[in-house]
Amino acid sequence: MISYVVRRLLYAIPILVGVNVITFTLFFVVNSPDDMARVHLGVKRVTPEAVQKWKEERGYDKPLLYNGAAAGAKRYTDTIFYEKSVRLFAFQFGRSDQGRDIGYDISTRMWASLAIALPVFLLGLVAYITLALLMAFFRATYVDFWGVVACVAMMSISGLFYIIGGQYLVGKLLNLVPVSGYDGGTNAFKFLVLPVIVGVVAGIGASTRWYRTIFLEEMGKDYVRTARAKGLSELRVLFRHVLQNAMIPILTGVVVVIPLLFMGSLVAEAFFGIPGLGSYTIDAINSQDFAVVRAMVFLGSVLYIIGLIFTDISYTWVDPRVRFE
């Protein structure tokens, strides 16, 4: 087991190197730092001195890969690639283009992201699986048919409209909770209710339908017929047998997103004014802060790869047939 985890961790290294090379190419090779400086300083009236100063302040004035002017190991370390990309492996994100410490920003903002992403994830999981089991229980009846119709209709609505509609209905029309904003501690609750509800409702369509397909697929298998032939009640078949066996496909889709919960949701956080990592990224995109976007891309991939490893480990818990030798 431990050797398996270690092997998976080692396997993650080349992927992270690949991600790093992709981001480096995107941010420094496709456009030179000069171009970035010009975009920041305004394309038209800009002097070469101003560009040079901008680059020096942010450490973009070094050579990309190889510094011929330096001596010894510095030839490779005193470059943009080392300073800006290799250091990401040690989670040294450096400073944003505005001069703030990215690592500090991330560590303070991720809790707000988690505060809405985690409840959405947990409540959503319970709600979707319950609904899907209900539809599977009433399969081939009108309940199931109209359930599927409702799911297809709901998944055809853009997530933006769930947020707008929720804000209008709950926040403005009924005046129950604030439309947007955030506060620390227990005060956060009233700000979190609406985003969490909206987040759960927005996912009903696609997720419930997805779980329903999984359950129906399981219900067509032989062991279910055997269980029924033994005289088990339909409910017992559903919960004892179908639900447990459906855990494998469910886990594949679910566990992988758990680490990504730290990243929050871009759109929801921006709409509800929650100071998490999602709105951090959006702010960075709008102010064209390349350093922050680069850091978030790397962080996102690290979390995703951790999620993949978690997924593999979680199989051993639910499926005794899976052995890692």
Binding site: F27, V39, S158
Partner: protein, 478 residues
Amino acid sequence: MPFMPDLLWTDALVFVLLAAVAALVWHVRRHEHLAAPWRKVARSSSGMAAATVLAVFVVIGIVDSLHYRPAVGVKDGKTVYAVEVLSVLDAIAAPLRARREKTYSAPLATHLYSKETMELPDGRQAREFPRLKHGGSHLKNPETDLLPDIARRVLWGFAAGAMLWIVLAMLLCAALARSGNINVDQAWRAVWRGETDVPWRAVLIMLVVMVAAGGPVLALAAKYHVLGTDKVGQDVFYQSLKSIRTGLVIGTVTTLVMLPFALLLGVMAGYFKGWVDDVIQYLYTTLSSIPGVLLIAAAVLMMQVFIETHPHLFETVTARADLRLVFLCVILGITSWTGLARLLRGEALKLREMEYIQAAHAFGVSHWRVLSRHILPNVMHIVLIAVVMDFSGLVLAEAVLSYVGVGVDPTTISFGTMINSARLEMARDPMVWWSLVSAFCFMLVMVLSANLFADAVRDAFDPRVRVARPFRLAAIKA
């Protein structure tokens, strides 16, 4: 010449796509085993009803893809063309495009949505809602004339729609009668009772709904702003029509871009195994481990920098916005080919062990020929299902990406830009709701019919294939 045709990049891609679809139709019609699943699609009532709606959207999209630049005058014996690129849809909807108001106005309103200081006939000044320049300007006395005029136009619209529907229904029955060797009356009865092989009844009912909605709207659009106007006074109905093309382009051109990658790499990985498989797997694992939105955001940011620092490359504003749309499709394609490639690899792995492939090897058939003659045709159903399933996700993703600021150019009219500009007015009291509601309705109709059609296609081609909802698209939607 009074105009000069202007082929934008997306137009070219759209026409390539149309040619490909036409070639596919021609090919499928000649092969019975390929046509059989399509006949199954044609037998699904929800699928056919959805296809009817989609067909109308596609026609609007194609009409909007025929671009030209009108002549503005003659200088030194040469015709000078406008910098503004128009489409045939713009020409058809010229009144809608040209009739700009000052700012917001509600649907079917005759007065502006905000008060202005006006001089009264007796010389005093007062804050009033001014009359619109175009919307309902033919009415002498809006307070009393508005409702009767609207009612009359709606009735006219209904009547015209009903006429159109009757003509279409008669044409259909005549065609059915001809092909089935029955008389028109029998054909009509068969359609009405739902006894035809293809569910024409569902199609006709869908058409009833569409002409009942479309007829009055078009009749009203001649003199009013049916869906109101936005902040700069542009007609929202016109914007909604223009958004259709953007949505369709994103949904289809992206697929066109990613398909060659996914097909070639996915099939090769599964077929050759060994180091080829390792390299390709590494490639798509790496790409797919970057969360979709972030990769798109990073790529679009870099594209923005490129466009801003190379302004001389773009002749017109439309050309720039168009190239940005192409870039966006390419970027979306690069981030979304991994899911399909993974599916195809799995399928190719299975297929390469089949007897007929082994037999081909034994006969000394080359790898290239085995791939193109034996493997490729047998994975096409997966490709088709993935393509139709992805479409709706991409249309939805466009809106979110435009909201985040990494979508289409702000000058391109799309559902995303419509929502984005309307969002700023949510706090206004009373709320400016019509832009949001229009974008919502048009998007819902388009995505819902795409989803229903995709379901029909999937059921017909392979009910067992569970196309994994690509994780990255799901993440963008939320």
